[in-house]
């Protein structure tokens, strides 16, 4: 275990930086002209577009899982997590009859363990140290 010497240092195993940080405007880039004035419409407010603005340090280990797939199949009609999660991490795969989890875009808020799944059927942990969401503003 080593003390933090440099605040910006990366985790020991360098993970890939994902989710459009290269294309997103860096925090300190200053103000660009209004895209609408330049004739570019604002992107539609989909959750995917919102998450495209967020920086993540992708972990290769999922930190979210469904405890019992049968509960999603048989008991949960509404698929509550597909609505309650603010990052739309959970999707109902109707053909496979299971919830798929895009843990990469998780904002680590804890909704899924705090009533966002009324059946308490989601196991949520935090990603390993240094991984996951990295807010530039917060």
């Amino acid at each position: 275990m080593s003390a933090e010497h440099d605040q910006e240092n990366q985790p020991e195993t360098q993970p890939a930086t994902v989710s459009g940080e290269e294309t997103a405007v860096p925090a300190d880039a200053g103000i660009l002209p209004d895209p609408e004035e330049l004739g570019f419409p604002q992107p539609p407010p989909t959750v995917a577009n919102k998450l495209g603005l967020v920086k993540f340090n992708l972990d290769t280990q999922p930190h979210l899982s469904i405890k019992n797939a049968g509960v999603c199949q048989r008991r949960c009609r509404q698929k509550f997590c597909t609505h309650s999660c603010p990052a739309q991490v959970y999707h109902w795969e109707s053909e496979e009859k299971r919830i798929s989890i895009s843990y990469e875009g998780c904002l680590e808020c804890g909704t899924c363990r705090s009533g966002g799944c009324p059946y308490d059927n989601i196991e949520m942990r935090y990603p390993r140290g240094g991984y996951g969401v990295q807010y530039r503003f917060g």
Binding site: S2, A3, V25, A27, V54, S84, T111, Y135
Partner: protein, 445 residues
């Protein structure tokens, strides 16, 4: 941050034993760490993010008085956005708004009242102060468990290899998801209890001058706006807007239980909120820079965990220290972190960190505004959850009354009064209005 200064141990390796270990580098944890390190204790603060603040989000403003209590004169150095000189409250429907505004020259004078901040930068600055005071700031380190011996907390287990650290006392400042508080058996409400609000927020970039024009602000001054009404889809919650230097923070916070019951998405509410005509005007042409989401513990006094145990203290959001009525939390976190540290320092003089000794923390909290305010509003969240009319019907009626009185048409004023009275009575029978007023008085005063 200077590594090695004031630090024991050799070759930059962290010693395995400390006077105190603080879990979490937010306002509570950093206030505790800074206070302990400043008093000469060896203290390690463990933060799972790459830097303190990288996981943190709020509306939001930080209040000057409690912050300066821990970090005197912080406003001269800390990364602040705008000095808040105006606080507005809007009662908004989908197409209209009644706006109450308070502006004070006092807010612009030292020691000031509040500032807007980006938590990712502000918390990083707090952590740098703690490091400069001699604390070990260990980032990118998730604390996975507490080390216990005979029911007594003696340290932590982190996710790193050889990641066990021991200490006389562990201060849990892990935030709203109380994993360790639950593991230590200190939690009083299960995580599934209806006691959290989900907040989602967007940071939208807009040039400084446009912000100052649109919000009618002096250069560098800021506005904080809280919005109640149909804009939360009639669900118990509020919307907020805070001005930063060249961005606007806009978001909504809604009780999670009501979102789930209504199968509604928080981001859909935010998207509609941004389309409300009076709000849309303020953010027109602003381009999104970041989206974020966070839970707010609103269980209040009833859901507070056991605040101390053998070798352990709990502070900040982890301890449920949020006042949902006044949207306060970071101030309570800072104060509770400081009190936890002062308790540890007092116990150090007697050499005992058992339950009895650490109960001093609870006594200090009881004397402070923290427990007083939490007790005062202990019924607030159940009251708000069970009175959705406060967020839909009442603001709608207020707007209707204002609209009718300000609309000049061929109705006489007496006819308008009759019409409005009839409308009001049909929507809110007198008995119900009295009951709501009584419930509000009982729950909020």
């Amino acid at each position: 941050m200077n590594a090695g200064q004031h630090k024991p141990g050799a070759n930059g390796t962290v010693p395995s034993r400390f006077d105190a270990i603080v879990v979490g580098g937010g306002p509570a944890g950093l206030a505790a760490t800074f206070t302990l390190a400043s008093a000469g204790a060896t203290v390690a603060c463990l933060e799972r993010g790459t830097w303190s603040g990288s996981k943190n989000m709020m509306g939001g403003v930080i209040y000057s008085h409690p912050t300066a209590n821990v970090f005197p004169g912080f406003w001269r150095e800390a990364p602040l956005e705008r000095l808040v000189t105006r606080r507005d409250m809007w009662f908004a429907t989908t197409d209209s708004a009644i706006k109450a505004s308070f502006e004070s020259a006092d807010f612009g004078q030292e020691p000031f009242n509040s500032f807007t901040v980006y938590r990712s930068r502000f918390d990083k600055w707090l952590a740098a102060q703690a490091a400069a005071a001699g604390a070990w700031m260990v980032t990118e380190t998730l604390v996975e468990d507490l080390l216990q011996e005979n029911g007594r907390v003696v340290g932590i287990r982190s996710g790193r290899p050889q990641g066990d650290l021991e200490a006389d006392v562990v201060i849990i400042a892990e935030g709203v998801n109380p994993f360790l508080t639950e593991k230590a058996g200190l939690a009083s409400c299960p995580p599934q209890a209806p006691n959290v609000a989900l907040a989602v927020k967007e940071v939208l970039a807009l040039p400084k001058e446009k912000i100052e024009d649109r919000f009618d602000l002096e250069p560098g001054a800021g506005a904080a706006i809280e919005i109640i009404g149909e804009i939360t889809g009639g669900l118990p919650g509020t919307g907020f807007i805070y001005t930063n230097q060249d961005t606007i923070s806009i978001g909504v916070g809604v009780l999670l239980d009501s979102l789930v019951d209504n199968v509604t998405e928080a981001y859909s509410i935010l998207d509609k909120f941004k389309q409300q005509p009076q709000l849309r005007r303020l953010i027109q042409g602003a381009s999104p820079r970041e989206y974020s989401a966070h839970l707010i513990p609103e269980g209040g006094y009833r859901c507070m965990p056991q605040l101390y145990g053998d070798g352990v203290l709990v502070a900040g959001d982890a301890a449920g220290m949020v006042n949902p009525i006044n949207s306060e939390g970071a101030n309570l976190a800072l104060l509770s972190g400081q009190m936890a540290a002062e308790t540890v320092l007092a116990c150090r003089r007697h050499g005992s960190f058992d339950r009895d000794a650490l109960s001093l923390y609870r006594q200090q909290l009881e004397k402070s505004l923290i427990i007083k305010d939490l007790k005062k509003y202990e019924n607030a969240t159940p009251f708000l959850a069970s009175h959705p009319q406060l967020f839909g019907l009442y603001p709608e009626l207020m707007a209707t009354i204002a609209r009718e009185f300000l609309t000049v048409d061929n109705l006489s004023k007496a006819d308008k009064e009759k019409l409005l009275l009839r409308l009001f009575r049909s929507q809110v029978p007198a008995r119900r209005l009295l009951k709501d007023l009584f419930d509000a008085w009982r729950s909020l005063t």
